[in-house]
């Protein structure tokens, strides 16, 4: 690979995949060209109302990332652009782009919206999935980034040469009708394709009458109906008569798992979960109870906390799940829709619904095939990018990588993981060009506000209907006006949107505000965003306070708007009281270590280690057993039939001979201290001498893995012919005699999974059983193979295995928790399985020579280790990630990342992707020389310190020390800012900056004085 590799990466597609990849790349030292064909980034995710499994509103969790991309120095955003051609090879590509004219000068446009008001030309709004209308001059959506208007091709001036209303009224004359199409040429070291996929158009299903009745909508249209920025401003109403619906039905698998009316034979992976979510969220929009019914075939809620979400939907929210695929939807009187369906026992049932939502799947985007061709990227038989399970983000062409739904329909957490993984893969050999093309941002000088009387600005947010729909936001704003030290108040629709950020900066400068209070959502998600904004306005970022009047108020007091408004006023008064005492704090830069510690020598651990080492950073890989490989050692092939053995061997060799990886076999972690950038961990070897080594490292990756649960039922361990899936794989590889001459095999699914004790799906067992069943059938087509299941969850392209299995004659019999299969050993020691056939409702008996139990996956027990790193685990023992949707690889405490089965059961390709993602996330820290520390840390006032050692003894991280002149001293680089020493110190000598006694007492007493 030529030395002069270019330190930049081209990212095609501005959806959440492109956004996450660009942020990772830019934060780890590369210039990113983000090419987006629309006028703004955000992709399909920006059209969603709420997202599973956390019910966050999609805009609230994506807008911080949108704004970050919009303002990121190292991301060159090229909207309305498409790739024309590429040439060159890995490390040095030359890409020709066409940028279509926007007809609006981005520097002048202030997105005031007057042009859109005046523009006479109305067109269908594709952002609203065609339900609403927009003007020819438009903004893709309220929080769009870049927040600039654009004129589309239906503009009357283009068609008939007259009008130009927008130009007349534009206050900053930003309209430029002779804007021309530009040809750009850029160079990049790697290319990353994330164009996403298209939402399936169900009009070909004439039996569903999608076009006939306005009340039959696609799931994306329903998202828009639910969304506050949607065509009905968040009111859930029937498109036909704008009346609130009483009954809604969801039809699953529309445009998926169908080789008759459409040709998408795969499963689109996400529809079951979003139907669950839409039903739950829809109920919330209705005052009187809403009856929701989901018609499905297999309930594919396989991801982390997905099954729990589904159980909650059924039990707490009363969503009805009817296992029956629908033949037709008949329009009925008063715009209702009649559905006749067969119950599981075959009885005919009929129901009338106000609305029918077609859970449409994802199909390849229309211009994606062209893009792939230009790039020389091969597609698979479904028209998606062809990738191998063992290098899930690489395409057939060197230096070109793929992530997101262009590779396979997948949910957002998996997309985000792949985005980070592809970022790591893309820069695998660009490491010496790191920071070569990046720019540094000069912040305006910080105003010195010490000594100034507090002048507080209060910004109250509506957050669409989330706050404004419940609490009386203008009343809250006016109430804040006469709080002490408050000199400016205002309320806005979306405080977090980019135009509002610029507006806040302007107000701060104009009115000389030196403290800012934002009353909106949770500081956990939005505080960094606002802090950076006020820093941009010259204010120290700690002169800022948030009042959480949404998550802690309107969202939880929906039934009582007056109380919610009163409470919002209290919260604002408390925030203002604390803000009055807030002081500027300065962070100091701290040299950090370059090394990474990876714990766990399975595939995930090794891939993460290699991922980081390839980027030129030293890695310590710790494995407590005597050999590398983890579970992969027992696996035969991936679901696509790729041999895992050779891949594993090659990976182990790459780890063993990698100059930058130091391997510690049979070694355990016995202690760790320090914070992000400067951890120091003690390792103890377990082979006898138990010698200890202390290593310093900047980041930690936990890949402690999981293992197959030893089944406690179905005669496992008592009968020789009952085995688990790994036993079966071993039997195949060692051609175990139990396999020869078998005439009948039964698989039982969900053994130990999806039960009250372990209410989660282990995600891989269905695919694994299908693969084994096919192997058996290939060996002997006459063999009787049965799979006794609850739901076959062969999501995505794995559905092919399910089709092939049925084609090969495998019989699938469904059981449920109330009617478990009965396994006995007959007198002749032959196995017998009795189960009720789910179609005929009759008991059937199978006499298998072999019984394979698809046992679930449990995490490896590492309570001590997790205790050292203070990382939380959920009730089943899986590590809890920082954010289930958008930070699936990080922990909430900085500098620690996770990958593999320890996070949640997943197939090997997802573990590899998550491991590479961990590497990429780690590189956003390791790429830097130093990091900023301090801020919210404890500091000691020497005069008051009685050197009583209380702080030394209570600090959980062991940081305070007593110095020679017998005063306590706390190293601001190490202090985690928890404040335990502050509250214990008998002499009141320590104070935690930004959380001083004065501030907290002021906030507390503010609650009780005047009002509330």
């Amino acid at each position: 690979m030529s030395k002069q590799a270019i330190g930049s990466v081209l990212v095609v597609g501005g959806g959440i995949a492109g956004i996450q990849a660009s942020l990772d790349l830019a934060d780890s030292g590369y210039l990113v060209y983000l090419v987006e064909k629309n006028s703004a980034i955000g992709g399909v995710m920006s059209q969603l109302d709420k997202t599973f499994p956390t019910n966050d509103c999609s805009m609230c969790i994506i807008s911080p990332k949108l704004v970050e991309v919009g303002r990121h120095l190292n991301i060159e955003l090229l909207t309305l652009s498409e790739v024309q051609s590429i040439s060159g090879e890995q490390g040095n590509f030359e890409i020709k782009l066409t940028q279509h004219p926007r007809y609006v000068d981005v520097d002048k446009c202030i997105a005031c919206g007057i042009c859109a008001e005046k523009c006479p030309k109305k067109v269908l709004n594709e952002y609203d999935a065609g339900l609403g209308k927009r003007k020819s001059i438009y903004l893709k959506y309220a929080q769009a980034v870049p927040l600039k208007y654009a004129i589309d091709e239906n503009c009357i001036y283009f068609k008939k040469g007259k009008c130009k209303a927008c130009e007349k009224f534009c206050p900053s004359d930003a309209i430029n009708f002779d804007d021309k199409q530009k040809e750009l040429t850029i160079n990049a070291g790697a290319i990353l394709i994330a164009p996403g996929s298209a939402v399936y158009d169900p009009s070909v299903y004439d039996t569903y009458g999608y076009k006939q009745s306005p009340n039959i909508v696609t799931s994306l249209e329903f998202e828009r109906i639910l969304a506050a920025t949607g065509p009905f401003a968040g009111d859930l109403v029937r498109p036909s008569d704008k009346k609130a619906p009483a009954k809604i039905a969801w039809l699953q698998c529309v445009g998926s798992r169908d080789i008759n009316t459409c040709d998408n034979s795969y499963c689109s992976s996400v529809c079951c979960m979003y139907a669950n979510k839409q039903a739950v969220i829809a109920k919330e929009h209705c005052d009187d109870p809403l009856d929701t019914a989901i018609f499905f075939m297999d309930l594919r809620t396989y991801g982390k906390d997905f099954d729990k979400y589904n159980l909650r939907a059924q039990e707490d929210h009363g969503v009805r799940f009817i296992r029956s695929r629908i033949h037709s939807v008949f329009p009925d009187d008063d715009d209702k829709l009649r559905i006749v369906y067969a119950t599981e026992s075959g009885k005919r049932a009929e129901e009338r619904f106000d609305m029918v939502v077609l859970s449409v799947g994802l199909s390849p985007g229309k211009d994606v095939a062209g893009l792939a061709e230009k790039m020389g990227v091969e597609l698979n038989n479904h028209g998606f990018a062809r990738t191998s399970c063992l290098s899930p983000v690489s395409t057939n062409r060197e230096g070109i990588f793929v992530c997101g739904t262009f590779q396979e329909p997948k949910d957002i957490p998996h997309t985000v993981m792949e985005a980070s993984a592809s970022a790591a893969a893309a820069t695998g050999n660009l490491s010496h060009a790191r920071w070569s093309l990046t720019r540094v941002k000069e912040m305006p000088p910080e105003e010195n506000v010490t000594g100034q009387k507090p002048r507080i600005g209060v910004f109250v947010c509506n957050c669409g209907i989330n706050i404004g729909g419940v609490a009386d936001v203008p009343a809250i704003r006016d109430y804040a006006r006469d709080l002490t030290h408050v000199i400016h108040v205002e309320d806005n629709l979306f405080t977090c949107s980019q135009d509002n950020q610029d507006h806040i900066k302007q107000i701060i400068r104009e009115k000389g505000i030196n403290r800012v209070v934002v009353a909106s959502c949770s500081p956990r998600t939005h505080e960094p965003l606002f802090q950076e904004t006020i820093r941009d306005a010259g204010l120290n970022k700690y002169l800022f306070e948030m009042a959480n009047i949404r998550d802690h108020n309107t969202w939880v007091h929906m039934d009582n708007p007056e109380k919610a408004t009163e409470k919002a006023k209290d919260l604002v008064r408390m925030a203002v009281a604390k803000a009055a005492y807030s002081e500027p704090l300065h962070q100091v830069s701290l040299k950090i270590s370059k090394a990474a510690l990876v714990i766990g020598g399975g595939v995930s651990g090794m891939e993460a280690a290699v991922g980081i080492a390839d980027q030129g950073r030293p890695v310590y890989l710790v494995e407590k057993s005597i050999e590398l490989g983890g579970n992969a050692k027992f696996l035969g092939t991936t679901w696509q039939g790729e041999q895992i053995g050779p891949y594993l061997e090659d990976l182990v060799n790459r780890v063993k001979n990698h100059p930058d990886i130091e391997l510690f076999m049979q070694t355990k972690v016995t202690g760790t201290t320090g914070t992000m950038g400067n951890f120091s961990t003690t390792l103890t070897s377990l082979n006898g001498e138990g010698k200890e080594i202390k290593i310093d490292h900047a980041v930690t990756v936990l890949a402690t893995g999981g293992r197959e649960k030893v089944p406690e039922q179905y005669l496992y361990g008592e009968h020789p012919h009952v085995m688990t899936q790994l036993d079966m794989d071993r039997a195949f590889s060692e051609s175990d005699e139990r396999l020869s001459g078998t005439k009948s095999v039964v698989f039982i699914q969900c053994v130990g999974s999806r039960i009250p004790e372990r209410p989660y799906c282990s995600k891989i067992c269905c695919t694994h059983s299908l693969k084994s069943a096919l192997l058996l059938k290939n060996k002997n087509p006459k063999m009787k193979v049965y799979i006794v299941y609850r739901d076959i969850r062969s999501y995505g392209f794995r559905e092919e295995l399910y089709v092939q299995a049925r084609e090969a004659g495998v019989i699938f019999i469904r059981y449920n928790l109330k009617n478990l299969p009965k396994v006995e050993s007959l007198e002749d020691d032959h196995l017998s399985v009795t189960v009720t056939d789910h179609v005929l409702g009759m008991p059937v008996r199978l006499k298998p020579d072999l019984l394979v139990l698809a046992s679930g996956i449990v995490p490896n027990a590492n309570t001590a280790l997790f205790e050292f790193f203070k990382v939380p685990v959920n009730s089943e023992g899986f590590l809890i990630e920082a954010h289930a949707k958008l930070r699936p690889v990080d922990f909430s405490s900085e500098g620690i990342f996770l990958a593999g089965l320890a996070h949640y059961p997943k197939p090997i390709e997802e573990s590899i992707a998550q491991a590479k993602a961990a590497a990429s996330r780690a590189m956003t820290i390791l790429a830097k020389e130093e990091i900023m520390v301090g801020g919210v840390v404890a500091s000691v006032e020497d005069a008051r310190c009685a050197a009583c050692l209380t702080c030394v003894r209570t600090c959980p991280y062991g940081i305070p020390k007593i110095n020679e002149d017998s005063h306590a001293v706390i190293d601001s680089a190490e202090c985690h800012g928890c404040g335990m020493c502050v509250s214990e110190c008998p002499g009141k000598a320590i104070s935690l900056q930004h959380f001083t006694d004065e501030q907290l007492l002021a906030k507390t007493s503010a609650l009780f004085t005047s009002g509330g």
Binding site: N55, N548, H557, C978, G979, L1007, F1008
Partner: protein
């Protein structure tokens, strides 16, 4: 305690666990009485006994420290 009694309860919630849980309760749309006002602290260790006493002095009817 007559029914119109509206207690004022202040809740000190640690940023990582309880505050996040309160956020989650919000996103799950659970509902609870509005008498509870959350004060975010980096860790419940930060909550000095003095805060509880001062709160009671100022008229708090209940204090909730969750971490």
């Amino acid at each position: 305690m007559n029914e119109t009694f509206e207690p004022q309860i202040v809740a000190y919630c640690c940023n990582y666990c309880a505050y996040a849980a309160a956020d989650l309760a919000g996103s799950m749309r659970l509902s609870y009485p509005s008498n509870v006002k959350v004060i975010q602290v980096p860790c419940t260790g930060r909550v000095d006994i003095l805060y509880l006493l001062r709160a009671i002095e100022d008229g708090a009817d209940g204090i909730y420290v969750a971490g």
